[in-house]
Symmetry: C2
Subunit: 154 residues, 2 copies
């Protein structure tokens, strides 16, 4: 079975096309409409690019891209891929693959010299089929927030 | 021996304080003054924060921070640490440690729920002393650029 879908930059109206439900495949999304819109604007201002896969006017997948201009590598850019998620019912139909390929093309257009991402060891092979190779060790520090972050912070 | 230094956000005038030479500890920096200024402005526009360690009015270390607002984690932020470099003669004097601690504090102020970075496996322990732990697998795809990227692209 193949599912007809296309990929485009996210619109604010995608919150009404099931965007949050798709991202929920990755981690719970508890933002209200108003809070989600504030996050959408913050991401646009700091040039975080969000893409969606659309099938039958519904969001079925998403992936994000941060493009960082470096002082090293002759002022070249690095693409950071984040938050690749596909609606569970449609996983295995090439949606995630097409989303990552779309992001790689965006990186080419932006003249990135490399594209990087952090993934669970169980999906290393999946990213290898897209041309990626394991390199560094990803490290993480968790920060405790107290009191809870206000959702409506501008 | 201790080296007196302080940490602050980078100024454009830091190119005249040896900024490129310090970053050269990481990878060659071949940007002209004019091209470096364009990169500096591009990074400011996309909110990439660059910090420097200053000793005797010279740059002796640098580290960068991208703060990404997520749709997941209740609209929380993630801090991405990039390009930590210390002048080779001053390595081992706590400059890198202080720079990373400064970035962690910036992440706390920005209400990040986690701070992440990719590092060479040989310095995992060094980051562990700062509270980081190994987690995901970092993956990389190299892109070929042809013709060479213009340095003066706006």
């Amino acid at each position: 079975m193949t599912v007809p879908f296309h990929i485009r930059a996210m619109y604010a109206t995608d919150f009404q096309r099931g965007f949050r439900e798709v991202l929920g495949a990755l981690s719970s999304v508890t933002l209200s409409d108003e809070a989600a819109m504030l996050v959408f604007r913050k991401r646009l201002r700091s040039r975080v690019l969000t893409f969606v896969a659309i099938a039958d006017d519904r969001v079925v997948g998403t992936a994000s891209l941060l493009i960082e201009t470096k002082f090293i590598h002759n002022g070249g850019c690095v693409g950071h891929i984040e938050d690749v998620a596909v609606l569970p019912d449609l996983q295995g139909h090439g949606v995630g693959h097409a989303l990552v390929q779309h992001l790689i093309e965006e990186c080419r257009k932006a003249r990135c010299y490399k594209v990087i991402l952090d993934c669970d060891p169980t999906i290393i092979h999946w990213y290898e089929t897209l041309g990626f190779r394991p390199w560094c060790q990803a490290m993480r520090l968790d920060l405790e927030l107290s009191p809870p972050a206000p959702q409506s912070q501008p």
